[in-house]
Symmetry: C2
Subunit: 255 residues, 2 copies
């Protein structure tokens, strides 16, 4: 299989880059292919702007949606966007590795999403509005995984942790960005206390990471509900009586 | 009062920029002062990297936390960061205006947070680790408001909406980024169907926006729980029996 690693950490001795190197080694040993988007090393342009659309459809007014649609469908996107889309389309799995900054991804990776996730591809698939999303779309059949380095302790990210539950904090990414496009999203691989790992802990992290990589194509994805699977009959809201006594983002998981 | 508007939308005819112009006009009429961070117009550098720390404490290894701490405390941050911090420290209220991209802020604004929210200021306040956060910190006494343009319909963002509830999607920003620093965070001003507003709807939006601006310093903030207010006795988890039957991020609101 072909695995695309996208990462946002410039420091070679960081945990993130350690996990990238371990992934590369382990995946090649297991007869996979690996490609890389090392965003800092690439000097990835993180800001979506008019320069991304080399032949504007409407020059008087910049609509990101309409220009993204036009540029994607006519092959006139900025070259760096096109290259990333090709890498992604060739991949069977996408792994995003990043340190958690303000309970989300660093700007450089958000900008990878903002720019590469074009209209007609990641949203507005087949120019059919919202018809294909949440389980269906251009990236259906691919797997996705977040690998997140977190400075704080796990207790702060538990169900009753003060920061909010990690799965809820990452929902805009796991559900709203990855599953949205049709990907099967695996449970997040989180490493807590990332700045305080001693040699033994690092060894454990590396072993756990290898186990996750070993089951990359076999473990069960997060059980997000399909838009068109019957749970949202109107395409907008969860049907009663499903989870009518529950609150929170977890209502969008099947039991 | 002094209000800082930070916004991430380059198109002059966009809803975001319309709301900025209306805010400027309305706030000046009501004897406030207004300052601007027009991130696209400023060409804001969105990627936090080694160039942000002009005199490295440790040159062999880049630790963002340690270098941010050192640069902030020694006054050696990149000049653009310092300028934004000064604008923010002079402000009584911060309003972030942005289109919702992938259920979060555009990369350029995430990069404003990543870079301006320095160690010793927005986190690690007084170099006391996590002692002052969630309701206490350098920005206590300031108000904060998100003003978000959303392409989709409100039904998709309701309590049972397919995208997840808007308040939950924005929790990493409202709670994890703004309240974290001590700010009082007001309920989000969201405009749905932002690409489909006719003249009447736009007039309504403008009037509602003026109402929100009128009560900027009087309306009740979101009732997030203070870290040090007694609800998290260990500083990490919500005390039982508070909300033991509930799930989701809303457990971190007082009733």
């Amino acid at each position: 299989m072909n695995i695309l690693l996208v990462y946002a950490q410039p420091e070679p001795s960081s945990l993130t880059q350690h996990l990238v190197r371990e992934a590369e080694k382990f995946l090649l040993q297991h007869n996979h292919r690996v490609s890389h988007s090392d965003l800092y090393a690439m000097g990835w342009k993180s800001v979506m702007d008019e320069a991304d659309f080399t032949q504007r459809k409407v020059s008087e007014r910049l609509s990101f949606i309409h220009e993204s649609e036009n540029a994607f469908s006519t092959g006139t996107q900025a070259e760096d966007i096109h290259i990333e889309q090709q890498k992604l389309q060739a991949a069977d799995a996408l792994i995003l590795l990043f340190p958690l900054w303000w309970f989300s991804m660093p700007a450089i990776m958000k900008g990878w999403i903002d720019r590469v996730w074009a209209y007609g591809l990641a949203y507005g698939y087949k120019n059919a509005g919202n018809r294909y999303r949440y389980g269906e779309g251009a990236f259906a059949g691919k797997r996705a995984l977040l690998t997140v380095s977190i400075g704080g302790p796990s207790v702060d990210y538990g169900s009753r942790g003060i920061n909010g539950k990690l799965d809820d904090l990452l929902f805009p990414i796991t559900h709203g960005t990855l599953f949205y496009t049709g990907m099967e999203v695996l449970p997040t691989f989180a490493i807590y206390n990332s700045g305080k790992l001693n040699e033994t802990m690092m060894k454990n992290v590396t072993e756990n990471w290898q186990k996750r990589l070993y089951t990359l194509f076999s473990e069960s994805p997060i059980s997000f509900r399909l838009q068109n699977g019957g749970d949202y009959s109107d395409g907008h809201t969860l049907n009663p009586p499903i989870k009518t006594n529950a609150t929170g983002l977890s209502i969008h998981h099947r039991d």
